[in-house]
Each structure stands twice: as structure tokens, then as C-alpha cells.
């Protein structure tokens, strides 16, 4: 019988091995995705543009309503919360600054990324997972078609374009939300609010938000694809992997957000 210490070491070793295997699998997927999206087009293997546009419609255009509603509400909430503090010091006009800057730099990208990972990240994991379970991925390989190039790259292109686009849209609607509350409930003059927002916002605020959004798009696709390709069993595992994809992509989005925010704080 192995002693308790031996068991513990064994357990630690097993855990570490599975973590390393996960890292290994994930890096393989990342490697494949970047090969097939960046390198192979240069070698004359064209990207699937029509499939990318189809994915853009699914991931981008179809999530416009939900993003509009949520961003509008977030704008209103933000204006309310800002007013709660600012009216104590009689600086209500600064609601415009707060809403404008925090939405373009932070809330626009993050809200968009969370909605897109809930809608598209989960859909990617489920789609690829059920294709794997139904041997469709094997069928693609046996036809000499790389499944990463065929399934994942169009999704990656779609999200790399659509998450920044949706973020820009979310910024606009969020600021409108703050504006609507400020001119109605807070009784700030519309022109003043507009001027204050324009003065407060710098181009770099919007641009750093869009750069983050682009990175979030990449993260959501990679996580969805990784979880999808990990499916080996049937429907039950597809469900599990889908959940894991959403949780992991939201987590990674926040982690990378922290990283980017720290970077931009020091270097812009």
C-alpha cells in the first residue's frame, strides 16, 4: 500500500499532467488557428469569405438588438450612479465625462464581449462539439479539408470584425442612454451635455476600447473552438463543454481586460 504522502504526490502529479495536457492541446489549437488564418492564405489557400460573412451576420448583425438594449440601460444606470455622487458637490455636468469615458474605455467592450461569448462562444463550442460527435470533423479530415480552416477561421474573422463593430455601436448607444437620462431626469441642457462629452472623450479612449474588443473576439473564438474540439463523447459532453466555453471565455476576457487596462494606463 502506498503511504499517504505517496498518494498525495501521485495526485499532484496526475493533476499537473492533466493541466499540462490541457495547455498543450490549447496551444496546438491556437497554433493551428493562426497558421490557417495568417500563414496559409499567403501560400495560396484562400480564406472562406462567404462563410465569414455568414458568420458575421450570425454573430454580429443578429446581436445588435440585445446589445442596443443592454448598452442603453447601462448608460442610464451609469448616469444615475454618477449623479448620486456628483450632485452632492454640484458638479452634475460631469456625468457626461464619466459616462462617456467609462463606456468607451471599459463598459462598451466588456458588455459586448460578455454578450458575444454568451451568444457566439457557446454556439461555437456546441456547433464544433456536435460536429465532432457526429463524425463530421472526421469526414472533413478524410476529405483532405482541415477542420480548423473550414470551421474556425471564418468564425475568427467574423468576431475580429464584429466585436469591435458591436463595441462601437454599444459605445454610441450607451452614451445616448446617459444623455437621455441626463437631459430628462437630471435636467442638464442637451447642448451642454453634448459639448461636455465631446470635450471629455479623446480618440485614444475609443481606440483602446476597440483594440480590447478585437482581442476579446479572438479569445472568444479560440476558447469556443478549443472546447468544441475537446468533445469526444456525445450530447452530454457537448453540453458540458458549452458551459465551460462560456465560463472560460468570460474569465479570460476579464483577465485580458485587466492586462490591457494596465498596459494602456502606463503607455498611452
Amino acid at each position: 500500500m502506498p503511504s499517504i504522502a505517496e498518494n498525495l504526490i501521485g495526485l499532484a502529479g496526475k493533476k499537473a499532467r492533466s493541466v499540462f495536457r490541457d495547455i498543450n492541446d490549447a496551444s496546438k489549437i491556437v497554433n493551428d488557428i493562426f497558421y490557417w488564418s495568417c500563414i496559409s492564405p499567403l501560400k495560396g489557400k484562400p480564406l472562406r469569405f462567404r462563410a465569414s460573412i455568414y458568420e458575421m451576420v450570425k454573430a454580429g448583425y443578429n446581436s445588435v438588438p440585445i446589445i442596443a438594449v443592454i448598452s442603453f440601460f447601462i448608460g442610464i444606470i451609469l448616469a444615475f450612479q454618477a449623479a448620486y455622487q456628483l450632485k452632492k458637490v454640484g458638479a452634475l455636468i460631469y456625468v457626461a465625462n464619466l459616462v462617456g469615458v467609462s463606456i468607451t474605455r471599459e463598459l462598451g467592450p466588456i458588455i459586448t464581449a460578455i454578450i458575444v461569448s454568451g451568444r457566439s462562444g457557446s454556439a461555437y463550442a456546441a456547433e464544433i462539439g456536435s460536429m465532432k460527435a457526429a463524425e463530421e470533423v472526421d469526414a472533413l479530415i478524410s476529405m483532405g479539408i482541415n477542420p480548423v480552416r473550414f470551421i474556425v477561421v471564418p468564425k475568427l474573422i467574423a468576431l475580429m470584425v464584429m466585436v469591435p463593430a458591436l463595441t462601437l455601436f454599444s459605445d454610441l448607444i450607451g452614451i445616448t442612454g446617459g444623455f437621455v437620462l441626463s437631459v430628462s431626469v437630471l435636467e442638464i441642457h442637451p447642448y451642454n451635455y453634448f459639448q461636455q462629452t465631446v470635450n471629455a472623450l479623446l480618440v485614444k479612449d475609443v481606440l483602446t476600447g476597440l483594440m480590447k474588443a478585437w482581442a476579446f473576439g479572438v479569445i472568444i473564438t479560440v476558447v469556443g473552438a478549443y472546447q468544441g474540439f475537446k468533445v469526444t463523447g456525445g450530447a452530454e459532453e457537448v453540453g458540458r463543454r458549452t458551459t465551460a466555453a462560456v465560463v472560460a471565455s468570460i474569465f479570460l476576457v476579464i483577465v485580458f481586460d485587466l492586462l490591457f487596462t494596465a498596459l494602456f494606463y502606463y503607455f498611452t
Binding site: 457526429a134 463524425e135 478524410s142 476529405m143
Partner: protein
């Protein structure tokens, strides 16, 4: 007899479990070879090795004198263009119509223009008896029709070799017989090398020219259909006469098993 595929000393594992135990055989060209065996004998795993979906632990698989266990992905794709595979559940892409599925290998691997591709798709669909179904989605088709659509996709590039994974599994006898007839015709008319993995005896007797039988990860028979029928190997006789497995352990052993000792 010309050989299409030669397997030498193939060994493979799932985790620590040995699935194929050092097997060697060859598959003749322009004939229908059936890989026969009970559930769990490793025949589906063997098929996955033959089409390059799995890499074995050891051994060689020679297809047209290329060892597919050693070549890289690009070279393997070259080999794959000469292969067609019909998977057990047909594995049609659900996001595309039947025509889209059949056109896929043509669009990916040839530079034919759209109208030529359409004509070829209609030809292939007609060949498998699915004319007029090109606009349907896989979810709108029955099991037998899906298999035939999968077959149309597998023969889209006029492959030299055609692989079937359990062609008649899950089909009613009439539909299964129809598919068997298609397989026989493909060999007779186009001279394709056909490799089918199955355990359905009626299907074996209709399509097979040559039989390889696996049992517990080993080849226990390789020869023509007549030789199989004449064989007196007890495992083969059990399989052919549909006899159940003999009592495997004595009452004492059984007691030990249920007592968990």
C-alpha cells in the same frame, strides 16, 4: 493479386489498453474487402488507421507504397484525395444542403467552375438514386438517404479506394440490400477498391470478394469468401452460425468476480 493496401505489424493503444496486437495483412486492388469481426474487436479503430485519422503506436500502413504512418499532413491529404469514406452516420455537414455536401470536395480540391460542379453533383446524386434531393438539408432525409448522400460525397472525386464504416448499420433490410447493390455496382462498373467494415453477415455474403476477420485485436482469418465459409476455426464458425459466446468462467471464478475479490 495486386495489393492496394498493405498493413505490417500494426500495433495500437487506447491509453494503456492494446487494441490491435501486431496485425499484418494486405488488401487486394479492385476487389471488395470486408473487415469482419464482433463488437470491440478493433475493426473501427483499424479503419481509422487506414484512412489516416489515427496514428498507430507502431507498424506500417502502405498505400500505393507510401507509408501513411510516416508522411506529413500535406502528403496525407494527397493520399486522401484518392480515398472516399462513408461514415457510419453518413457524417453529412448539417449546415449545408445535400448538393453543397457533395460539391464540397470538388470545390476544395478542383478548380472546376460552378456550372461544371453542379453537373457533377447531379451526376453523383443520380448514381446513388437521389436525383431531385439536391436542395434538401441532411436533417430532412431518412437514414438510408443520408447514407446514399454520404456515398455520393465519397465518390465525388472518383476515388481509387472507397471505405465504408458499417454500411448497413441502422438500416432496414430492404434499404441495406439497396446499399449493398450500390457497393457491388461501384466495384463492377468503376473498378474501385472497396473496404467495408461490418458485422452484418447478409451484407458480407453479398458484397465481399475477400474477407479479413479480426478477433480480440488479432487477424484470425484472411482469404476469399468461399474459404471463409469452408473454414473450421471455432471462432469463425461461431460468428457465421450466430452462436453465443461460451460460458467464460467456472462457478468459482464467477463467485470471486461478484464478491469483488
Amino acid at each position: 493479386m495486386e495489393t492496394a493496401i498493405e498493413v505490417r505489424n500494426l500495433i495500437t493503444h487506447y491509453g494503456d489498453r492494446e487494441i490491435l496486437k501486431n496485425i499484418s495483412f494486405s488488401i487486394p486492388k479492385r476487389k471488395t474487402t470486408v473487415i469482419l469481426g464482433g463488437s470491440g474487436c478493433g475493426k473501427s479503430t483499424l479503419l481509422k488507421h487506414l484512412i489516416g485519422l489515427l496514428k498507430p503506436t507502431g507498424g506500417e500502413i502502405l498505400i500505393n507504397s507510401n507509408d501513411i504512418t510516416k508522411i506529413n499532413e500535406d502528403e496525407m491529404n494527397g493520399v486522401r484525395k484518392k480515398m472516399g469514406v462513408l461514415f457510419q452516420g453518413a457524417a453529412l455537414l448539417n449546415s449545408m444542403t445535400v448538393a453543397g455536401n457533395v460539391a464540397l470536395p470538388l470545390r476544395e480540391h478542383t478548380k472546376l467552375n460552378a456550372s461544371t460542379v453542379n453537373i457533377m453533383v447531379r451526376m453523383k446524386l443520380d448514381l446513388v438514386g437521389l436525383s431531385g434531393f439536391d436542395k434538401f438539408y441532411p436533417s430532412q432525409l431518412s437514414g438510408g438517404m443520408k447514407k446514399r448522400a454520404g456515398l455520393a460525397r465519397a465518390i465525388a472525386l472518383d476515388p481509387e479506394m472507397l471505405f465504408f464504416d458499417e454500411p448497413s448499420a441502422g438500416l432496414d433490410p430492404v434499404t441495406a440490400a439497396g446499399l449493398d447493390e450500390l457497393i457491388v455496382n461501384l466495384r463492377n462498373v468503376f473498378g474501385m477498391t472497396i473496404i467495408a467494415v461490418t458485422h452484418e453477415l447478409p451484407s458480407v455474403f453479398t458484397i465481399a470478394d475477400y474477407v479479413i476477420m479480426l478477433d480480440k485485436g488479432q487477424v484470425i482469418f484472411a482469404g476469399t469468401l468461399d474459404e471463409l465459409k469452408a473454414s473450421d476455426n471455432p471462432r469463425i464458425r461461431m460468428f457465421l452460425e450466430r452462436k453465443p459466446e461460451q460460458e467464460m468462467y467456472s462457478p468459482e471464478d464467477y463467485f470471486k468476480i461478484i464478491a469483488g475479490e
